[in-house]
C-alpha cells in the first residue's frame, strides 16, 4: 500500500514538473488559500462568538471583528453553559457510546466483509446487494417503528451469577449503541479494501493449515489499518452527532448524549452566545482528535477508496 502511494505521489510531482511552474503554482496556492478561508471561517466564527456577549455578536457581524477575539471577551458563556447543562456527563456518555459503537462496528462489519470477500458463500452476491440496499433507508423514516420494536426486545440481565430476562431497551446505553453497530457502508468499505489485498497471502496461509478466523485476524486485519481508521471515523461521527434517536428513547438525563444538550438552549430566550459556547465544546473534542490524527485520517480515507 505504502509503496503505491509514494510512487503515485512522485509521479504526480513529476507530471507537474514538466509544466511551466511558477504562475500555475501561485494560482493554485491562491485558490487553495481562498478555499481554506471559506471552510474555516464559519468555524472560527463559532469559536470566537462563544467568547462574546450576544449583543456584541450581533454588533460585530458587520466587520472582520466577527472573526477576531476583540471587545468584551470572556468565558461567561461557558460558565453559563456549565450551570445550565450537565455537559460533562453528556460528554462522557457520548464518548462511551461512540467508542463502543466504533469498536463493535469494526469487528462486526469487517467480519461480514471478510466472509463476503474471501469465502465461497452461496448467494453471496445477493447478500451483498441486500446489505447495500439498506443504505437507501433514511433513519428518520424508521425511527418510530423502531422505538416500539426495541421496547419489545429482550435483554439478559447479569447480576453476579443471577441471570434474569428483562424486556424493553428504552432508556439504556445499549439502545443507543446496538442498532448502529452493523452498517452497510462499513461492510462495503471493508469489502472493497479486502478485495485490494492480494489473495496469494491468505491462500499461502490456507496451505499451511490456517483457519479462516486466523487468516482474518492474523493476515487481513493487520494489513487493513487504513480501512479500520476510515470505518472508525465514519462510525464515530454519526454516533457522536446522534440527535433524533436519543430524544425518542432516552428519558434519564444521565444517559443523554451531547447533541440533545443543544435543545436546552432553545428554551427561554435563545442565547446565541451560550449556544456557540456549547457547540464549540462539543465540536472541540472531535476537532482535536481529527487534527491529532490528521495524517492517518485523511490518508486512510484516501487509500480505502475504489481502486482504479
Amino acid at each position: 500500500m505504502a509503496t503505491t502511494t509514494t510512487t503515485s505521489a512522485r509521479a504526480q510531482s513529476t507530471a507537474v514538473g514538466k509544466r511551466p511552474r511558477a504562475p500555475r503554482h501561485f494560482l493554485a496556492t491562491v485558490a487553495k488559500t481562498v478555499l481554506a478561508l471559506v471552510f474555516v471561517l464559519p468555524i472560527i466564527f463559532m469559536f470566537i462568538s462563544s467568547l462574546k456577549p450576544d449583543s456584541q455578536i450581533f454588533a460585530d457581524l458587520g466587520s472582520l471583528k466577527a472573526f477576531l477575539p476583540v471587545g468584551h471577551i470572556s468565558f461567561a458563556n461557558y460558565t453559563d453553559v456549565f450551570s445550565r447543562v450537565p455537559i460533562l456527563q453528556f460528554l462522557m456518555n457520548s464518548v462511551g457510546i461512540s467508542a463502543v459503537t466504533v469498536i463493535l462496528g469494526l469487528l462486526v462489519n469487517s467480519l461480514a466483509a471478510f466472509a463476503l470477500s474471501r469465502m465461497r458463500i452461496r448467494g453471496k452476491r445477493i447478500i451483498l446487494t441486500l446489505i447495500i440496499a439498506t443504505l437507501i433507508v433514511p433513519f428518520e423514516t424508521l425511527a418510530l417503528p423502531l422505538v416500539w420494536w426495541v421496547n419489545q426486545l429482550p435483554w439478559l440481565q447479569i447480576n453476579g451469577f443471577d441471570l434474569t430476562f428483562t424486556h424493553g431497551w428504552l432508556d439504556t446505553y445499549r439502545v443507543q449503541i446496538i442498532p448502529f453497530i452493523a452498517n452497510a457502508f462499513s461492510v462495503y468499505l471493508f469489502h472493497q479494501y479486502f478485495d485490494s489485498i492480494p489473495k496469494e497471502l491468505d491462500e499461502a496461509a490456507r496451505m499451511d493449515g490456517a483457519g479462516w478466523f486466523t487468516i482474518y485476524r492474523k493476515i487481513l486485519m493487520p494489513l487493513s489499518g487504513p480501512a479500520i481508521a476510515t470505518v472508525a471515523i465514519l462510525t464515530f461521527l454519526p454516533a457522536w452527532n446522534s440527535y433524533l434517536w436519543p430524544i425518542m428513547v432516552i428519558q434519564s438525563e444521565n444517559l443523554r448524549p451531547v447533541m440533545v444538550g443543544v435543545e436546552y438552549f432553545y428554551q427561554l430566550n435563545v442565547a446565541w452566545g451560550q449556544i456557540m459556547a456549547y457547540t464549540s465544546m462539543i465540536t472541540l473534542p472531535i476537532l482535536v482528535l481529527f487534527i491529532a490524527f490528521q495524517r492517518s485520517f485523511v490518508n486512510s480515507i484516501a487509500s480505502t477508496g475504489v481502486k482504479g
Binding site: A36, V40, P42, A184, Y216, I301, G305
Partner: protein, 316 residues
Amino acid sequence: MLLSQTTRAATGAPLPPRRRRRIILSGSRGESLTGLGMAAPALILLALFILVPAILAFVLAFTNAQLISPNPIQFTGLTNFIQLFHDPVFYRSLLNTLYFAAVVVPVQAGAALVMAVLVNTKTRGTSFFRTIYFLPVVTSMVVVSMLWLFMYQQHGLINQVIHQLSFGLVTGPDWLNNPATSMPAIILMSVWQGVGFHMIIWLSGLQTIAPDLYEAASLDGVTSWQRFRYVTWPGLRNTRALVLVTITIQALSLFTQVSVMTQGGPLYSTTTMVYEAVQTGYQQQQTSYASAISLVFFALVLIVAAVQRFLTREKA
C-alpha cells in the same frame, strides 16, 4: 448499483471448472456455513434494526394508523396513496428533492474533484489544506445548520460580506425567507459541509492512477486539459461510481438542514420528501400517511440508483 460491478471484480477469477467444483463440494459447503456464521452478526443486526422497522413502515402505509389515537388500526388499502397523489405538497416535495439532488450531485462531485486535484501534490502545506477542507465534515450537521442559519440572516454575516466586497453596491437577499433563494442557500451550505469528504474519495482515486500513464502523456506533450480528459478522468471510473452513489443517497435524504433552518418554507420551497414524511408523521401525527410517503421515497431512491447504474455501466 455499483455493487455487482465490484463483486464481479472481487470474484473476478474465472469460475473453476465443473469437475473440480464437485470434488470440493463438501469443503465449500463448510466454508459457506463458516462464512455465513462470520457474516451473521452484521446480517442479524441489519435485519433487526433496519429490515423489521422498514417492513413495519411498509405495512403501516396501507392502514389508517395515527401516532396518537385510541382507535384500532384498520387496513385501508391504497387510501393513503390516493390521497398522496392528490396532494400538491407531495409533488412539491418530490420536485424539491429532485432539484436538490440534481444540483448537489454534480456541484459537490465537481467541486470535490477540483479540490482533490488542487491538493493532490507533494508541496508543503498540502496536508494542512486537506485538514482544513475536511473540518466541516467532522462538524455535526445540526451545529452547521444553526451556524449558517445565523449567518444567513438578513443582516447576517454573509450579507455583510457581500455588502463589503461589493463596496456597498449589492445588498444580499433575505436568503432563507425568499422562495427563490432558500433552496440555493441550503444547497450551498450542504455542499460546504459535505464536499471535503468527497474530495478525499476523489483523492484516493487520483492516487491509484498508474504514474507511467502520466509520464507517457507528458512525453506526448499534451495540454493539462488533455491530460485530465484522457488520463485522469478515465482512471477515475470506479471512484466516480462511489462518489455518485454516496452523494446521491445523501442528497435525496435531505432533512436536517431543512428541519433546523426553514421548516420547509417559505412557500414549500424547501419541503423535501423526508422532511414531509417526518413532519406529517410526528408533528401532524399521521403515521400511516408518513409511511406512504416513505414508501414512495424508497421507490424513488431505488429508481435513481438503477438509472445511475445503467448510465455508469454504459459508459464503462
